[in-house]
C-alpha cells in the first residue's frame, strides 16, 4: 500500500517511489468543479504558469536548463474526472544515479515546478506575461482544432457531450472555443489565486527519487490559509427516450459511438462486464461484430465508472451503420440473457488480472490507478482490486448488463464515394 501524507484535508501527497525505475515523476493534480465560467481560464492558466518562471523568465532559458538536466521535462495538461476539472502540472527526469554530473535531480527539478505553481512569473503590470498569455491561448485553441482533425477522438467527444447533455461533465475540458477566445487577461491572476486556495491537491511522487526531501519541501509551500471546494460528482440515469444525433462529413469511413448509462452500483461487476462485452480481442464485440460479421474495423467499449456510463466506439462503412448498431446491441442483450461461456468469463478475469498485475511497472499507470480512486472511500492496491474482481460472479455480470441502458446514438456519416 502506498504511503499517504495528508498535509491537510485537501492536500495529499502519495508516495509511489520505487528504485527499480531509472526515472522519477512528480505530478500535482489540482481538482476543481468543471464550470463553464472558469474552465477555459483554468486551461490556459495551467500552461501559462509552466512556461516561464522567476528564475527562468525566458522560454529558451528554461528549455535549455531542462535539456541540460538530461532532457527532463515540465509539462501541463487538463483532464476531466466526472464533473470535475483536473489541472495537471508534472515533471519527470532521470534518477540522479545516472546523472554523470552528479546533479541532485529532484532538488533542481522540484524547485522549478514549485516556483511555477506557487509564485508564477508576473510582469510589471502584475499580470502574467502577455507573450505567455497570447501563446498559450493560441495553443489551447489549436488543441481544440486538432481534436477535430482526429475523427476517432472527435466522434467520442461528440457522443460524450450528448450523453452528458444535462450534466456538468458535458462541457469540454477546455470550456468552449468561444470562452477561450473571450478570456480577460486582467482577471487571470485572481483565477490562479483561486486555484491555489480552493483546489483539492493530490501530489504523486513516483519512481527513483528522494521522497522525504520532496515531501518536506512541498509541505513548506502549503503555509497559507485555504478554503477548498467540496467536490461533487453526479451520475444521472438514462433518458426515457433514445437520444439520436447524426452529422455528415467528407470521410471514407463512418463512425458510430453508442453512449450507455448504468444503474449498477457494483463497479467491479461493471468492469468485468465491459471486458466481456468489448474490452479485449476475445470480447463479444471484437469476436462477433468485427471478426465474424466483418461489420467494422474497430469495435470496442470502455466504462466511465465515475459517471456510471459506458461507451462503445466503432469505425464502420456507411451502408453498414444500422447493421453494426443492431449487432452491437444484440451482444449486450446476449450478456443480459446470460449467454456467456465459461471461457469468456474466465478470459475477462484473466485479462483484468494481467493489467492490474502490470500497473506497478509503469510510473504513469501507477499514478492514474491511484488518481482514479480519489473519490473512493476506500483506497485499494492493484492486488486488493484483483481480489475484488476475483469475487465477481456470473450473475453479477448479468445484472450489470441488465442495469445498463442505451441513452445516446451518435453517428458521423462519411460521404466520400468510393470507387
Amino acid at each position: 500500500m502506498p504511503n499517504f501524507c495528508d498535509i491537510s484535508d485537501s492536500v495529499r501527497i502519495i508516495n509511489l517511489t520505487d528504485s527499480k525505475f531509472k526515472t522519477f515523476r512528480i505530478a500535482f493534480k489540482m481538482l476543481l468543479p468543471l464550470d463553464k465560467e472558469t474552465a477555459s481560464e483554468h486551461a490556459v492558466l495551467t500552461s501559462i504558469v509552466c512556461r516561464l518562471t522567476n528564475e527562468y523568465p525566458e522560454y529558451t532559458a528554461l528549455s535549455r536548463k531542462l535539456a541540460s538536466l538530461y532532457g527532463a521535462s515540465i509539462y501541463s495538461d487538463i483532464t476531466k474526472m466526472g464533473d470535475n476539472q483536473v489541472l495537471n502540472v508534472a515533471l519527470s527526469g532521470i534518477s540522479g544515479k545516472y546523472a554523470f554530473g552528479g546533479e541532485k535531480m529532484e532538488q533542481e527539478l522540484l524547485s522549478i515546478l514549485l516556483s511555477a505553481v506557487f509564485t508564477p512569473l508576473k510582469d510589471e503590470r502584475g499580470l502574467f506575461p502577455e507573450e505567455s498569455f497570447v501563446q498559450e491561448k493560441r495553443q489551447i485553441i489549436e488543441a481544440i482544432e486538432a481534436d477535430f482533425n482526429d475523427k476517432r477522438i472527435y466522434a467520442i467527444d461528440k457522443c460524450l457531450k450528448e450523453l452528458y447533455r444535462n450534466e456538468k461533465a458535458g462541457l469540454s475540458k477546455y470550456g468552449t472555443l468561444e470562452s477561450v477566445k473571450n478570456i480577460d487577461e486582467t482577471k487571470l491572476p485572481k483565477f490562479w489565486n483561486n486555484v491555489l486556495k480552493k483546489a483539492q491537491f493530490v501530489i504523486f511522487v513516483s519512481g527513483d527519487c528522494d521522497y522525504k526531501y520532496i515531501e518536506n519541501t512541498v509541505r513548506e509551500k502549503f503555509n497559507f490559509e485555504r478554503a477548498p471546494y467540496k467536490l461533487t460528482n453526479e451520475a444521472k440515469k438514462a433518458g426515457q427516450e433514445l437520444h439520436v444525433v447524426s452529422e455528415e462529413m467528407k470521410l471514407a469511413q463512418s463512425k458510430l459511438v453508442l453512449g450507455f448509462k448504468t444503474e449498477c452500483e457494483d463497479i467491479n461487476a461493471m468492469k468485468l462486464m465491459s471486458v466481456i462485452f468489448g474490452g479485449s480481442p476475445t470480447s463479444k464485440l471484437f469476436m462477433n461484430v468485427r471478426e465474424k460479421l466483418s461489420l467494422c474495423y474497430y469495435c470496442s467499449c470502455r466504462p466511465a465508472l465515475l459517471k456510471k456510463a459506458l461507451l462503445v466506439e466503432s469505425g464502420v462503412e456507411t451502408d453498414k451503420l444500422e447493421a453494426a448498431k443492431e449487432a452491437i446491441l444484440k451482444e449486450l442483450e446476449d450478456i443480459r440473457q446470460g449467454n456467456i461461456t465459461e471461457e469468456e468469463f474466465t478470459a475477462a478475469k484473466l485479462a483484468l488480472y494481467n493489467s492490474l498485475n502490470g500497473i506497478e511497472d509503469s510510473l504513469y499507470s501507477l499514478e492514474i490507478f491511484y488518481q482514479n480512486q480519489i473519490f473512493d472511500s476506500e483506497v485499494l492496491t492493484p492486488m486488493e482490486q484483483l481480489k475484488k474482481i476475483e469475487a465477481v460472479s456470473l450473475s453479477d455480470v448479468i445484472n450489470a448488463a441488465k442495469l445498463t441502458k442505451l441513452d445516446t446514438v451518435y453517428t458521423l456519416v462519411g460521404t466520400t464515394v468510393n470507387n
Binding site: 531542462l66 532532457g71 532521470i94 489549436e142 482533425n149 478470459a347
Partner: protein, 435 residues
C-alpha cells in the same frame, strides 16, 4: 530462486552495459533463430516479441534456392500478420485469453512482429507465440474475408490527416523505393492476394534464420531455451536477397497538397538523403539525432522563432531521422496555419547552421538530453523489446548505440551536418482544410 550463472554462460553470451547497469543474454539457436533474454529485476510484466525481418517494402526478392527473382502484390506482409492469428483450430486470441496474456502484432516497413505482455503464465504464453507464428493456415474463404477487414483498415487511414501527410511526402520523395507505398497496400493490390502468394511469402521470410525472439522482464534463460528446443521447427537455411530498383538522388515533386476535413493545416517536410550501403551505423544515427535536437528541440532558437511567429505549437511540432534499407530522410512535421512559411524558416536555419556550425555548449546539452531519453526508455519492457528487435534487424545493437553518444565529438556532428538536409532534396507535404 538461484540461477546457475555458470551453466548459463556456457550457452548464452552476456552483454552488459556499464553505463546503465543493465544486461541481457543472447544465443543463436541451432535452428538459426537469434534469441535475446533481457532481465528486468522486480518488474512483474514480461514482454515477448517474435518477429521476422519482412515488411511492406519486401515485394521483390530472390531466394537462394531459386534462379529468378519474383514480384508480389503490395500489402502481403501486413496481410500475413492478420492471417497468422487464425489457425486451423481457430482464433489465436482465444488461446492467449486462456493464459491472460495480452497479445498483439504489427507490421512496419521492414519487419512483422508478434508479441504478448504477461504478468502470469509467461511460459505457456511463449509456447502459444512460437506455435502460432510457425503454423500458417490460409484458405480461399478466410483470405476473402480478410480482404474486407483490411479494406476497412485502409479506409480508416485515408481519413487520418497525419498519415496522409506522411505518405504524400514519401511519394513526393521516392521515385522507385517501395517505402512510398502504404504498409497495408491498396484495396486494389490486396484484392490480388491469394493463399498461394501468402504461403510463398511465408515460406520465404518466416525462415528462422531471418527471425528473432526477444523476451524482456521476468523470464529465465533456460526455460526460454527449453521451449525453443521443443517448438522451433527446423527449416532449410535460405538466404533472401531483397531487390530494389535504383533510386535516383532527386525527389519526385518538391510540394504536394491535399484537402481534407481538418480545422488546422498539417505539414510534413522531409529531406532525402542518398544511402550508400545497406544501413546507417549507430554512430551516424546518434550524430544525426544530436543535430536535430540542437537545431529544433524546444530549447533551440529555431523553435522559439517559429513559436513566436505563431507558426507551430508544442503539442504537434516534431522531428525525426527516418531511415531503413535503401532510404533515409530527416523529417519535420506538425500543425501550422502557414506550412510554407515554416518550411522557409527551417531552410533558413539549416543554411545558417551549416555556415556557422553547432556550438560547443549546445552540442553538450543535446548530448545530455538524448542520453536522458535513452535512459528513460530502459524503464519499460515493451520499449526495450521493440528497440532490441528493430536494432537486430538493422544490424545494430542497443548498448553500442547508447555508448556511441559518449564518443561523438563536435567535429563529427558538424561534418555530418554538412552532408544532410540539402534544400534541393526537400519535399513539403501539406494537408489543407476543405474549401
Amino acid at each position: 530462486m538461484v540461477i546457475d550463472m555458470e551453466n548459463i554462460n556456457k550457452l548464452w553470451k552476456k552483454v552488459e552495459s556499464e553505463r546503465t547497469g543493465d544486461h541481457y543474454f543472447t544465443l543463436t539457436h541451432p535452428t538459426g533463430l537469434e534469441i535475446f533474454v533481457y532481465p528486468k529485476k522486480n518488474f512483474s510484466t514480461t514482454f515477448a516479441i517474435f518477429g521476422t525481418r519482412y515488411g511492406s517494402i519486401d515485394n521483390c526478392f530472390k531466394r537462394s534456392d531459386e534462379l529468378e527473382a519474383s514480384v508480389v502484390p503490395e500489402g502481403i506482409a501486413h496481410f500475413l500478420e492478420h492471417k497468422l492469428f487464425e489457425s486451423e483450430e481457430g482464433d489465436t486470441f482465444l488461446k492467449f485469453a486462456a493464459t491472460g496474456a495480452s497479445a498483439n502484432a504489427f507490421t512496419s516497413f521492414e519487419s512483422t512482429c508478434y508479441l504478448f505482455s504477461a504478468t502470469q503464465n509467461i511460459y505457456p504464453s511463449l509456447e502459444i507465440l512460437l506455435d502460432f507464428v510457425q503454423s500458417p493456415y490460409f484458405t480461399e474463404e478466410t483470405v476473402k474475408k480478410e480482404q474486407g477487414i483490411i479494406g476497412q483498415e485502409i479506409k480508416m487511414y485515408e481519413d487520418d490527416p497525419g498519415w496522409c501527410s506522411m505518405f504524400n511526402m514519401l511519394k513526393g520523395m521516392y521515385h522507385k523505393h517501395p517505402i512510398k507505398n502504404d504498409i497495408a497496400g491498396t484495396v486494389e493490390s490486396i484484392s490480388k492476394i491469394t493463399p498461394e502468394y501468402l504461403y510463398r511469402c511465408y515460406n520465404t521470410f518466416y525462415n528462422l534464420s531471418n527471425m528473432a525472439l526477444v523476451v524482456v522482464g521476468n523470464a529465465e534463460c533456460d526455460k526460454v531455451l527449453d521451449i525453443c528446443d521443443k517448438l522451433l521447427k527446423r527449416t532449410e537455411p535460405m538466404q533472401v536477397e531483397r531487390i530494389y530498383e535504383a533510386e535516383p538522388e532527386t525527389v519526385v515533386e518538391p510540394y504536394i497538397e491535399q484537402k481534407m476535413s481538418v480545422a488546422l493545416p498539417l505539414f510534413q517536410l522531409g529531406f532525402k538523403e542518398s544511402v550508400k550501403g545497406k544501413h546507417i551505423d549507430e554512430k551516424t544515427i546518434a550524430e544525426t539525432e544530436i543535430i536535430l535536437d540542437a537545431m529544433a528541440s524546444d530549447a533551440s532558437p529555431l523553435f522559439k522563432r517559429l513559436y513566436d511567429m505563431q507558426l507551430i505549437n508544442e503539442s504537434s511540432f516534431s522531428y525525426e531521422f527516418f531511415e531503413g534499407e535503401g532510404h533515409a530522410a530527416v523529417m519535420f512535421g506538425g500543425e501550422s496555419r502557414d506550412p510554407q512559411k515554416v518550411a522557409e524558416e527551417i531552410n533558413k536555419e539549416i543554411k545558417k547552421l551549416k555556415e556557422i556550425g553547432i556550438d560547443k555548449e549546445t552540442f553538450e546539452i543535446s548530448k545530455r538530453s538524448i542520453y536522458g531519453s535513452n535512459i528513460s526508455g530502459l524503464n519499460s519492457s515493451s520499449a526495450i523489446a521493440n528497440a532490441m528487435i528493430s536494432m537486430k534487424f538493422n544490424g545494430r545493437e542497443l548498448y553500442k548505440y547508447i555508448d556511441s553518444l559518449a564518443v561523438i565529438t563536435l567535429e563529427d556532428v558538424n561534418r555530418r551536418l554538412r552532408e544532410i538536409m540539402m534544400e534541393d532534396k526537400a519535399v513539403l507535404s501539406v494537408i489543407l482544410p476543405e474549401d
